[in-house]
């Protein structure tokens, strides 16, 4: 187990995280969240009238998430516009956020969430979920709790939390592994669990515990960012 993380961090140590609320004046709610060099911004619009009309639900409002990488966020220019990957992540983010929202008070409406990645260094979907959850709170949407999200990776046989791009593509030993998770605030309920690669069953609990630990740190950062916003703004 002499293996070391290329970034020099401990295996249960996340990158430096930062969060800010109220960054987009035209949006009803907005937030930024970063893991090291990964920066995500999220803007929330609505609840507002939903078009096309056939998507309207008279029982509840709906959530519509759009995730995308900005063309300059990666080393090779990313062609702008929806792709297979961004559509999948949009949907997965939507499912990760929906369990905490209560949109029943806004029938026939939509809450639009736009997530853009300013800089990508792995863990973009998790940074996006963190930003979106703060932005939704900032927009005053009724919600049960905040959503915290982090990825757990694996370097050969060692699980490591919040991998950066170099670590995510660690090809030695068992090859590259990435497991993004999202959970509801300070509870034990999970809203997202994906796994790309392999994690043996006996390591799985370790991986979840690592994720849990970082999620509780994220929860504090999110809470603090929201409270700080009101200190300056309102």
């Amino acid at each position: 187990m002499a293996i070391k993380r290329p970034s020099g961090r401990g295996f249960d140590e996340a990158r430096k995280m930062d969060a800010k609320v109220g960054i987009i004046p035209n949006a009803d709610g907005s937030a930024m969240f970063s893991f090291g060099d990964t920066i995500a911004i999220a803007a929330v619009y609505g609840p507002r009238q939903l078009h096309p009309q056939h998507m309207q639900n008279p029982q509840t409002g709906i959530l519509r998430v759009n995730y995308d990488l900005l063309s300059f966020s990666v080393a090779d220019r990313k062609k702008p516009g929806p792709s297979r990957r961004s559509q999948e992540i949009s949907k997965v983010t939507e499912w990760a956020l929906l369990p905490v929202l209560n949109l029943e008070g806004f029938p026939n409406t939509v809450v639009d969430v736009q997530i853009y990645i300013l800089q990508a260094d792995a863990g973009t979907r998790t940074a996006g979920i963190n930003a979106a959850s703060m932005a939704l709170a900032h927009a005053g949407i009724p919600m049960k709790n905040l959503v915290c999200s982090v990825a757990v990776g694996k370097l050969d046989t060692e699980v490591a939390v919040d991998p950066d791009n170099a670590e995510e593509h660690f090809e030695g030993g068992e090859g590259h592994t990435d497991m993004p998770i999202a959970k509801i605030g300070n509870t034990d309920e999970f809203t997202l669990l994906q796994l790309d690669g392999k994690i043996p069953p006996e390591k799985f609990t370790d991986a979840l515990n690592m994720g849990n630990k970082v999620c509780s740190e994220i929860y504090e950062i999110q809470k603090n960012a929201l409270k700080k916003f009101t200190e300056v703004e309102a």
């Binding site: 709610g29 026939n108 927009a139 005053g140 603090n224 929201l226 309102a234």
Partner: protein
Amino acid sequence: MKNEINESSEELREEISESEGNKRWIVVPGETIVTGEDFLPGEGARREGEAVIADRFGLAEVAGRMIKVIPLSGAYIPRRGNVILGRVVDVLYNGWLVDIDSASSAFVLIDESPRFINRNEMDQFMAIGDMVAAKIWSIKGRGIDLTLKGRGLGKLEEGFVFRINPSRVPRVIGREGSMITLIKEKTGCNITVGQNGWIWIKGQDIESEIKARKAVEFVADKVHVDGLTEKMEAWFQEN
């Protein structure tokens, strides 16, 4: 690091409750506001076992047994009795459809106009694109009904309309209208502030109108400062 965060939020909580006089502090969704069977969860709060928990981001207020969360940001949520500004988007056979910058559209019934209007000549009273000041008369499951009967309500002629964040509206109006009265007096303009954040200004000349707009935006930006009315008076001295 965690301790630091907790400490600073504790301090913040005390500062705010002190400056407001009554008990108010910032809460995030899912945060426990108070614990105990004695409290009743009001707007923006819910009960979970022993605890009363915030349902949204805002200022928690404890008023006797009642716990509520006052919104600090976000889109406008219509309430009955609110005076709002809107734009006519369609003229239908028995009324006008009005965009009031909220999730559901609003409707002015022809009978809710201040005088009798012939159905064939509806667009002579209000046509598509006209701005209107109206009061929310009822909110039903499917849409909002407005009325134009009341002082200061009706079609807005001349002047201009701009928008501020709806959560800043109470501050622009001030305690019992003190702030808006001051701006009106100092600039000599006619101002209508809609609860949805739309503001209409009409004055003698464009200069005073612009000055009034700047004053309103000054108040909307300067947030949570004590003695804002005095600051406003000082601002008028300078400008």
